[in-house]
């Protein structure tokens, strides 16, 4: 897994502090997520019974994960029966090795991609570039961040943190555009022109998979720009990379999920393009690749099955939790330090990014939440994100440093008995003139930077009650 993710070189606090210190980023992110979150509410209100659908979607996902191996097997069988190839990749290295292998065999030079978070997760672009391929991201937002050499900051809108002026600057400096206006239509037209050539030159197309339908071996790709359709149909070879959990049994289940996916994420009834690929081009067909490969990526997912974290496997990556999260709204995605941001990321980073069970850097992600519960309320498959975050914090606490543990043990030793509890409060108030000393405690300093405590009372409520003064 890539060492380049900020997760490995900085603390969560440093990243969030940097993010909230950028007012342009905060404004851009807030504008976008407010639009999406508002759109979600409106779009769901247009359904007959959104809550009933959410409950049904949760049940479908739970059933799929309960019969996961069997359904994945059916998917693989049907993909192969349709003339496709299937790779079972246990980890990122196996997945990238397979793709690089195919690229080498067909002599691929020009690779086009549609946006795929799982290929970010396995760091596929670097592996292909090292092999001499030119890799072009064709989702507009993803192309912008590829040019800017950044990571996506939202799973649906990778360049959400940038406004049109910043995008114009990227195009002017990194894409050879003669300094032009920061007009959205002009910018989009420039991107369309530049990318069109890449599609036509490409010998390998790589997409993600939003859903795979086992009963027919069909791969479903949802985009708003149509680039996914070009990537999967124009080049001679199409490789689809899917997180192993993104499978469904039937088209009926797909119907249900598509009803919720875009509504939850962007507030659209459906994304502009829903492309469904069943096998490579058959005889007599005009469009489609000669070869179709499906890479099914585990990379830590099967470890979650059967644990208290299993419900996270139900996630359909709609982005609703990012859009309603008050923390994400201020920080954007880079602060989380890895592929998946927001509440989804706060859960997935400790589970998928962790290099071993006591990886403190990855475990820290579960702290990026106030446990406000907005994510849980918005999730279309009703994942109890808040409960999962609490569970991850318990895991983290089990690996806590002796010092951190001692703080809580000392607290519990005092406050588990009424006498010391009362005495500790009484003493704290009696010595309130020593309050400035709080600055010398790490937690105290972190509180009073930016916050002014109210004047402390002279007596606790308990003292007043017992003195009969209430």
């Amino acid at each position: 897994m890539s060492d380049e993710w900020p997760l490995w070189s900085s603390t969560l606090r440093a990243r969030t502090a940097a993010a909230v210190g950028d007012p342009v980023l905060r404004r851009n992110v807030a504008n976008a997520v407010d639009r999406f979150a508002g759109g979600r509410v409106t779009a769901l209100a247009g359904l007959h019974d959104a809550d009933e659908l959410r409950a049904a979607a949760r049940a479908v996902r739970a059933d799929v994960i309960d019969h996961w191996a069997e359904i994945l097997g059916e998917l693989a069988d049907n993909v192969m029966a349709g003339g496709g190839h299937v790779c079972w990749a246990g980890d990122a290295a196996e997945a990238t090795a397979y793709v690089v292998d195919v690229a080498g065999r067909i002599g691929a030079r020009n690779v086009v991609k549609s946006k795929s978070m799982v290929t970010e997760e396995i760091d596929l672009n670097h592996a292909l570039e090292e092999r001499g391929c030119r890799v072009t991201e064709t989702d507009l937002g993803e192309w912008i961040i590829q040019l800017a050499a950044e990571h996506p900051s939202h799973i649906l809108v990778p360049a959400v943190h940038r406004d049109r002026h910043q995008i114009a600057e990227v195009f002017d400096r990194r894409a050879g555009r003669p300094d032009g206006p920061a007009d959205p239509e002009v910018l989009t037209a420039f991107a369309r022109g530049a990318l069109r050539g890449r599609f036509l030159e490409a010998d390998l197309g790589i997409t993600g998979v939003n859903f795979a339908v086992a009963e027919t071996g069909s791969l479903v790709l949802v985009t708003n720009e149509g680039n996914g359709r070009l990537v999967s149909a124009v080049p001679r070879v199409h490789i689809a990379v899917m997180g192993a959990e993104r499978v469904l049994r039937t088209w009926d289940q797909l119907d249900l999920m598509l009803n919720l996916l875009a509504r939850s994420g962007t507030g659209q009834p459906l994304s502009a393009y829903t492309s469904i690929t069943t096998g490579p081009r058959r005889e007599g067909e005009v469009d489609g690749p000669d070869e179709l490969h499906l890479v099914i990526v585990d990379n830590g997912r099967s470890r979650m099955a059967g644990t208290d974290m299993a419900e996270m496997l139900n996630c359909i990556r709609c982005g609703a939790c990012l859009n309603v999260c008050p923390v994400y709204r201020q920080t954007g995605g880079h602060a989380y330090g890895w592929v998946y941001p927001g509440p989804m990321g706060a859960v997935l980073i400790p589970l998928l990014a962790a290099r071993g069970p006591d990886d403190a850097r990855a475990a820290e992600a579960s702290s990026a939440s106030t446990l406000c519960g907005a994510c849980m309320e918005a999730c279309p498959v009703e994942i109890p994100l808040q409960d999962l975050l609490l569970g991850l914090r318990r895991r983290k606490a089990a690996n806590a440093s002796a010092r951190d543990r001692l703080v809580w043990q000392a607290w519990a030793a005092a406050w588990r008995r009424p006498g010391p509890y009362r005495e500790s409060n009484r003493l704290a108030l009696r010595s309130r003139r020593l309050l400035p000393l709080v600055r010398h405690l790490p937690a105290g300093r972190r509180w009073i930077e930016g916050r002014t405590l109210p004047t402390l009372p002279t007596r606790t409520f308990t003292e007043r009650w017992e003195a009969g003064d209430v």
Binding site: P326, A368, L390, R417, G450, R451, R464
Partner: protein, 251 residues
């Protein structure tokens, strides 16, 4: 559950009110008495254990919560009133899981029974019809901050507004449901993000509002401390304090 006038209720003060905001406790007692209840403060109560629970330290949370469970379990059948939405949530929603995880199924069972008779203050006031003895308070323009747990776990979005309405203090429409950024240990783990979240709330206050009211002392502490650091004129007050003022004005 109905509380007849004169029937005693148990008050769980909470640690934040006890040590940092005792005036909120005093106001709560005053308001409860005015609504016709006698008030007891069960001895031996400390904290609900939420800080450690949210940080993942189950044994430590359970040790502290057990003490408060014992105190609140001393008067079976009595309504327990809590002037803090998130502490009421801890008791009602999380205590059973906490005690199960800590290996105390017996305490989990007792927690369920205490939870079943635990009420957040405005929930209690809104449900007891006798609780409207107040005159309106002139002069203040208030907006209500809804604590996250109280809103999303206890579904008590209307109760504080209803209580304010009865006091003649309708709250201005505000983006009151968005988190204030306190989040317990979050406020010191990621202080920059926490403070920015408070700023977002403060900056979105409707024009003319001079007082933020709410039923969660720790949210009010967060918003009030940030407002003070920025020198903003806005005040934060617990709903109990506002109601107690109204009672005084009526006297």
């Amino acid at each position: 559950m109905s509380t007849q006038p004169g029937e005693p209720v148990d008050l769980f003060v909470t640690c934040v009110v006890d040590a940092l905001m005792p005036e909120v406790g005093v106001a709560t007692v005053k308001v409860l008495r005015a609504s016709g209840c006698a008030v007891d403060v069960p001895r031996g109560q400390t904290c609900c254990g939420q800080p450690a629970w949210n940080a993942g330290f189950v044994d430590e949370a359970a040790a502290v919560a057990s003490t408060t469970l014992d105190a609140l379990d001393a008067n079976p059948g009595r309504t327990v009133v809590v002037p803090a939405g998130s502490c009421a949530t801890m008791i009602r929603v999380y205590w059973p899981t906490l005690f199960e995880l800590a290996g105390h199924p017996d305490r989990a069972a007792r927690a369920r029974s205490v939870g079943a008779r635990t009420r957040e203050l405005t929930e209690h006031l809104a449900a007891t019809s006798s609780a409207a003895p107040v005159a309106s308070v002139a002069g203040a323009a208030v907006a209500c901050h809804h604590g996250c747990h109280m809103t999303r776990e206890l579904h008590l979005e209307d109760a504080p507004l209803e209580v304010l309405r009865r006091a003649g203090l309708p709250a201005a429409a505000w983006d009151g449901e968005r988190c204030c950024g306190f989040g317990g240990t979050f406020s010191v783990t990621l202080p920059e993000a926490s403070v920015t979240m408070a700023d977002q709330k403060l900056d979105s206050l409707p024009a003319g509002v001079d007082t933020i009211v709410g039923a969660d002392p720790s949210c009010l502490l967060q918003l009030g401390s940030r407002a003070a650091a920025r020198g903003l004129a806005v005040r934060t007050r617990h709903i109990a304090e506002v109601l107690a003022d109204a009672l005084e004005a009526a006297e």
